[in-house]
Symmetry: D2
Subunit: 352 residues, 4 copies
């Protein structure tokens, strides 16, 4: 049985980790870290866990934690893990970091977009970007540190990945217009996230400045073996969960000037995703809906070719707390420990 | 492996049965009945089931169905099962009926409240009212027909049951003010259930005339061994799932004129529910919230004593599609086949 | 032109006052008080007011404010007005208080339920409880201080008033089960009011202890000329605006033991409300819905007689920010200054 | 007093016309047309209008209607008006058509996108596209037929208009990603619009095929004096009202290769909109939110320049039922009859 510690277990992503791990046959949470609720019963913070979790919230004493667990999930504010990580920790436990601290290889880019100094750049190189469908072969028993991808980025990258990888689109025309439920904003008490401010409302935010932009660019750059600069615009939607990414790019034309056909592009998507358990390429003509993946680790993807404009419109949907955070973190843990990648993640989407 | 047939598998309750049974280790759905979608792939009706269910929707040919399955769930309009049930069916398969056809023992009461003629009253007597926590000992391998309780009734009865059973309240003062999410209204295309009609709105309906009233009265009557006449008022709430019942009753005073204490009443609730897996008596002062049970088979219950008025206010919350329909139906199936009552029902509530 | 000052103009009720007064022909806001946003443009706090309100938020310097305005609305936390009110203020301006400070005549009751000391009990006696439909004749040019009723109380009292006034119900059986949208919780940043905590959720709160209880009891006591003790249970509903009160009481029977008829009770409601502009008695069989009054000053009321239990179920719906707060405050202002009571309040409900 | 007839008064847009015209000082509705509810009281269809509208719904007898009114609003399915319009009608009354029948000048384009035959193409030429801010000078006492713009198109066009008009963007790079509340889908009982299908869900629809696409292209083509082909992707959002358009286009660079500055582009927007009552250019850095225009005729617009990609991101928000339908129709009526363009439209946005 893998022993698990969670730092930041009382945020929404942390709580989703707890929910998912309750159904994991090979893992057991032994440390519910939560600086805000030390000594409080976990179920008093999340009453849905009443009679399910009897543990008390603990602090984030990493030295002690390292002695008790096999893997640590850090679902913490940006900068936390970079500030405390050291060789001793990495020698004793595996770390899956749900924050952005080790996602971006170029520390200058990190510091510019996140506006904080990176305190342990020496670990960036070895950290594996944990987008399992793409980096699966780098995540195994030898891996010490996994940078769990962001919610928007997971959805945005997977939706466009085969097109970029195969060089079928002009990457510099790529525009990602993303829409997210409000749990992505976290559980802290901010006026902007009050029910009456979000409900019956919709807005863009972080326009041309959102921190997930360089993360998408870096990963798609690896895929296309080129530099990628995109527009990424997140929007806040009055729903709890779900991210929908609508992505636009100009298709490269064939030698005869014609566009690739639906079947040709479908074959490319199939090439990468046909055998992926958690990626569902929908039938032709069916647009992804966030509700169809709610509570599950699926990414639903489809695309439409617009003959008039020569563009492809790609659409992807995930549950931001599952595939966009806790579910993917567990998927990474499964890979780290050589388990069935889907263990604990056979979650059937809940509708309605 | 128990073979399962569902008649009405494309309604919301039917779809929840499918979701739950996907995680049941001893049961397998072999017949997805849906008169409206015959020959259509099930996942085309519920895209959340894409890549999970590959079956085609079938008709409701019970003669054929009986040959193929061990148990039939009927999630059908009132009157359907009563219209088709016969000895042959009951000799071959067990039936768990999610409609109201066999819930009420007095056929006149049924016909008066439901305004339809009962076509097979001969089976009413043997049907067991499948409120597992109360009638568990009557649901076993010998039982042929289970009347799965209504959503409002499950919540309303369980919330008040210990008080009525122990004679601690004046049952004729009992008032049940219940609030339900919109999935309780089903998936049929009615203007009153359009998003724009329900969203940002709240109303009572079926005031003093809702069909769940006699069902609650009958069952609480058995509990209290007395005649019970109550007010039951359902309300429609702009949320997908969840029922909250707020119940009011005058406490019987002790010989010295004093009211029972919190601890005394708590002890009574504990007597009946302490060992019940799916009933959670919340800590003192914590009011049930529907979100805390969403997606699970739990009933969360608590109460407050009002010294000023001498009344007890009892509150219960369930997920109307789980404990109020499909979850309880599976719980009944487990009892019918001698399985662990919780098999397939270890569902952790999803929050947020 | 009446000059208006608002203390607490950046809360939800304050903002609704601003919205309503924009359409008032005889009043002009000259002081937007907001301790939290001093020197900030009002529209920066409420962008819906961009290009409509150009004013800057000011402090709550009452001495100065008194010199500039004819009437002050205080939409402030409990205890604020009681702490600052004095003879000079009342000699210069009229005050409409949207807080609870002067609603309850018995200072002990106030202090017990609100758990704060009342700092100026000497003004309680003269304060008029501003439920216009009932106390209209006490609100005029001579009135200095109006205690604007609470949101739940406005709805709860008006729904039951004729029945209590005419002695048709046993007041001690009265139970008020009320449901409110989330704007009633105000605009302060509390975790419990975050979108993800309220959305898809429903709960009771303040059970047997909510502060609006004694206010309802006092006013219905005046109506019935008797002591009234009730159960009042508020619930939080995932919608922005709206209160629905469902009220239960045992009907007094006639000498022959029969219940009053629908027409008889309807005549009683008509007696009090037929000529009331803002009270709409719905047609027989139509239940009030909060959406039908949204954005307006209406109270929609109806009732059902349950012959089986001998109870009447009364239902009332208001917009908590309009008739439950700002609209009624303006209605009171109109009465104070001898204007048409409906000036500025001809607001057509917005649907959907 | 202008006498108004509405054909289709019981759809959501028709009902919004009624709401708005209740506050219009120079117009009076004398004909509430509704084929579905003939002889039913209007308020029985929209209970918010109880005690406000006492009229009965009538058929769509245009011959009779023409004798009684000065202007007809047709809020009807596509093809209706084209099927019944004739010279006699146009000789007697003015017509403001909220359907798409006369919006598109090229009948082939209309027939291709709408997939219906246009029954009276002879009136297309004279119909004025009623986007008041742009075509104001063509809408006056001589105009007989106004094609009221679509909801998505109003928002999409106004948001990009100054940029296209002044040739500051490469129009062929224009991408419009639009999000709409559910009232845009109308009041007909369709399963896809049920509360439980829309709530907690988000999806794109009509990708590369939505009918508002050619309408946007045509109007922006007039603005830019060029052919325009765009991608337009609508999305369904779980809220009642509101459209948010997020638009992307590549900025033309200056001779020196630099991008235009924020101030330069702001000046262009100001040139067209500074004096427009219903267009609000927000302060720098403030993104439009649909809630801030709810219930009003405003369009809130802003933009961000992305130096990294050389694109401008333009954002616009409207209430789809007001500026996107009924409000703009009334604005057109005001122009047709020489009234103050804002009469009846001084609607303050409602928040929250």
């Amino acid at each position: 049985m893998i022993k698990v510690g969670i730092i930041g277990s009382t945020g929404y992503a942390g709580a989703e980790l707890v929910r998912i791990l309750m159904g994991h046959k090979e893992a057991q949470i032994v440390w519910y870290g939560s600086r805000s609720y030390i000594d409080k019963k976990y179920y008093e913070v999340y009453q849905n866990m009443f009679r399910i979790v009897e543990d008390i919230c603990k602090d984030d004493n990493l030295a002690e934690l390292c002695e008790q667990v096999d893997v640590i999930f850090t679902s913490t504010p940006q900068g936390y893990l970079a500030g405390v990580l050291n060789d001793e920790i990495l020698s004793k436990v595996k770390v899956v970091d749900l924050s952005a601290d080790f996602r971006i290889k170029d520390v200058d880019v990190y510091e510019k977009w996140y506006k904080i100094e990176h305190k342990s750049p020496q670990y960036i190189e070895e950290a594996v970007y944990g987008l399992c469908e793409i980096n699966r072969d780098k995540i195994n028993g030898n891996t010490r540190l996994v940078a769990n991808p962001g919610c928007y980025t997971t959805c945005s990258i997977l939706t466009a990945f085969p097109m970029v990888k195969e060089g079928l689109i002009d990457v510099n025309t790529l525009i990602v217009d993303a829409k997210s439920g409000t749990s992505g904003a976290g559980r802290s008490a901010k006026m902007a996230n009050l029910f009456c401010e979000v409900n019956e409302n919709m807005k863009a935010y972080g326009v041309a400045s959102h921190r997930h932009t360089p993360e998408i660019e870096e990963q798609l750059g690896y895929a296309g073996n080129c530099s990628v600069t995109i527009n990424f615009t997140p929007h806040l939607v009055p729903m709890n969960r779900g991210i929908l990414a609508t992505e636009y790019a100009t298709l490269k034309r064939k030698a005869d000037g014609s566009l690739p056909t639906y079947d040709e592009i479908r074959a490319v998507y199939d090439k990468y995703y046909k055998d992926e358990k958690f990626v569902r390429l929908l039938d032709k003509g069916v647009c992804p809906e966030t509700k169809w993946v709610e509570g599950s680790n699926y990414v639903d993807i489809n695309f439409v070719i617009d003959e008039r404009t020569g563009r492809i419109i790609m659409m992807g949907a995930i549950d931001n707390l599952v595939k966009g955070a806790a579910g993917q973190a567990v998927q990474n843990m499964n890979l780290l420990f050589g388990l069935d990648e889907a263990e604990g993640l056979n979650l059937v989407p809940c509708f309605p």
